[in-house]
Subunit: 279 residues, 4 copies
């Protein structure tokens, strides 16, 4: 299992071309949130915006639009219960991240199916949280031609892989991932999170127990979406997103007993700047 | 009456185990807020999250969900008028804090009764504000097997104990507490607040008159819930929660004529970090 | 015309008694806001809270409750279209401030009449903005036994006094004030604002043109309510409230081209602390 | 093509007259926002307020009022679907900025037509975003006697001018602008944005690729409105607004990988102060 080197951040976070436009930095669709889990959608979208995504649209339930407008006025919103509108958005964005706070209602199930069915090559589909639960429960096949990134924690991975946590070792995880989709990337969130892709495995050397709080995973998903939108889908991009999330948290943990997701988010532009300048 | 020593903070606020997860830091249910008292629910939940609680769910009236999503995106929300959903939440959380801004409507009364009826051993039930008023008015028995912490101010304690404020001395308070529930902890909020538990009494040596403002008690309740969720129910934990609330307020009071609850809340992670490091 | 001396701030802003409670610092009712002017209600209530008022209730239209809960969780809210509830609130608070963003709807008119009819001695009634417009248009008599403070700008004073701005001199203003209510305090907001009370006139020596922006008057009204609630109704209290508002603005104006009301509000606790310490 | 010199900021941003009032700094009407694009309206209005506009009214859809009250309590709101109310507002304000997040619904179309029809000389009409799209699609004539400022990015300019981006050179742009309205100002937003007015062309020497993010144009429109409201309509005012937006962004870009619009907005009062002091 290879360690992820901090240099990946210097490689991935490139200096921006002076002659560039919003469209160069990714069109991101976040499909997230539900009546009882509104904050997850906000954290995820805010993380995408603060990580530099060009254009971020949040597909959520309309009752959350006000909170989104307040917290992240830079984001656009659509109603994910409007099927045609959602389908159009899935087809026209570069990166689709689905799951944070989505819940497992019948609408949520339809939305997950739409994301799996309507994405195609040249798109990246990030599956997180409720989306993974729905895929496991509904035994949905991951047949999209889009690049797939899954970001389960150990409990979600158990539901997907049928591996109890104590059997979640490198060999077993790799085998189960191959069965789900041989080209998907798996980010297994845990103490020293791991990345699986085909026959490769990487481990992060950062993170801390102050991150053990609600909303932390939603934030990672947003950063992941923002990074893929800007830097393109690659193992390096995925590693960089995972790493910067934990590195900022480690910095905050030096002075804070608990690391709140919203604090990580606001630090993103400054940390990314630093890594973009040191080559 | 014993003085609470600051060392309690160093004892209680332990360094976190690197291999730990959200579930290790408590599942907290805050039952709070109503149409006219929405802010109390927000302050209480925010305090719990900033004190490091692993997972915080706020049961409130749905009209408050937007404000919650904006102010504390890390929190989940449920509608406390949905009886089954509320019952499930009461049963499945480790700490239930009830009362801030709850009001005394018939829904509120039903909610308080549910909390008293459905909690069991290995849970902690924190009773504050409107919950105490309802218990006094409805003469509800405190028969739950959960650990009970009550946090009245002197007026609320008068309603509960039938002791006029000038008769609220150590002996009388102890006697009345024994009648209400011989194993309950009483935190009597006043100038130099006191903690009663069985035949023990403790007094805080902190606090200031800049804290005499709305929302201060709601904030204490949230910290109490967060501390019990992380550090377990004990007299030391209760003392530490009470003390850190006033110590942060004292620090703020040096530079502020009035100490707003929301400022105390944002300082929690830094102060807790300091106490976790000095043993 | 006497100049207001800065020493008034040291006199008025007393150090708080360690053994004091929320109730010692005033129960304030702000009656403000309407569909199109929601921000005025928020700024006014927030100013009252940041100036140290013990308990602040905002009577407004319910559609504003969410914004209030987000911006000032320390405030309670009631619906001013509920006549009985409003009447009860008017009777049970120490200071009633009415007018910011209230508008001139028929509900607003009823609310202003209720404030004039239901307040009694030992209360202070602060009349601002739309309340003054309604009083002028409806030719309402100021017959309450409460202490009255009016805070018009020159246009509002013209409507009340029938004095065109160029005739608003010391002698005329005093005469017209006597006709409206011989015991009322008039704060005439302008470049170098003036205070009129019976045969006395005072002028402020602070303020700047960066304050020429929306919401500035609403903020003054909130500070006035907070000061009277804490320090009692007196000419000194009124002068201190008027002065600290402009002094903080002058400090901000040194580094800001425009002085936003919300920035003044957040500076209140620190400035009040300084004046409380220098005697 | 002339370069815009930084000195324009010192010329335009004058020191305020001590004897001045809100009315001296412009009455601004922002017509912006729709169900799915609420944030654009907030950013635009907030930028106008932070740039020092005297009074800002946001005409939007009522479902956005709560978010506006939270984010910019200094702003007033009206419902743009109320035709009479909107018409009155268009007639009574000095500067009307229309378009950010407005969308292209039939209501939006009616609103754009109202702005074109009801504005007259001595007013300035700023056309941005959706308003430009509607004008292009509906082939609306720019026949108002108000001063016109258009702020398209290259795609919007293509729709208006029928010039593909690679044909958008100085000569062609000038010709097409003459056809649309010979007295209008065109601000063409791109890498090194350009200003066209009659036979003059100016180019900005500031800006950076960190600005390539959602909401950046909405913010410029708000600053433009605030500047015209305070400093009067002139090419110098327009240049100054365009320049300060990018200069602040350049400063932020030194420490931030992406420059969020909301951060530019909060820096406006300080930067304007500096330029007002260096002559």
């Amino acid at each position: 299992m290879e360690k992820i080197n901090k240099n990946v951040l210097n490689h991935v976070i490139t200096q921006r071309n002076p002659q560039s436009y919003k469209g160069n930095y990714g069109k991101i669709l976040i499909i997230a949130g539900s009546t009882h889990f509104g904050g997850a959608a906000i954290l995820c979208s805010s993380a995408a915006i603060h990580s530099g995504a060009g254009l971020v649209t949040l597909a959520t339930t309309p009752e959350k639009f006000t909170a989104v407008n307040v917290q992240i006025p830079e984001a656009m919103t659509i109603d994910y219960s409007q099927k045609n509108e959602l389908a159009q958005a899935i087809k026209s964005n570069d990166v689709i991240a689905i799951g944070p706070g989505l819940g497992t209602s019948s609408i949520a199930k339809g939305v997950v199916k739409a994301a799996l069915n309507l994405t195609t090559e040249n798109q990246t589909l990030i599956l997180d949280a409720s989306a993974l639960t729905i895929i496991a429960e509904q035994q949905l096949a991951l047949e999209t031609k889009a690049n797939i990134i899954m970001t389960p924690h150990q409990g979600e991975w158990q539901r997907l892989s049928h591996l109890p946590i104590h059997e979640q070792n490198e060999k077993n995880n790799r085998e189960q991932l191959q069965k789900l989709n041989p080209n998907a990337v798996l980010i297994l969130k845990k103490h020293l999170s791991e990345i699986y892709y085909q026959n490769q495995t990487f481990q992060i050397q950062a993170g801390n127990p102050g991150m053990a709080t609600g909303g932390m995973g939603d934030t990672l998903t947003g950063i992941m979406a923002g990074f893929v939108g800007q830097f393109g889908y690659s193992l390096e991009t995925v590693s960089a997103a995972l790493l910067i999330h934990s590195l900022i948290a480690d910095k905050l943990y030096k002075e804070n007993y608990v690391v709140l997701p919203s604090k990580i988010i606001t630090k993103l532009p400054k940390y990314m700047k630093k890594f973009s300048q040191t080559k």
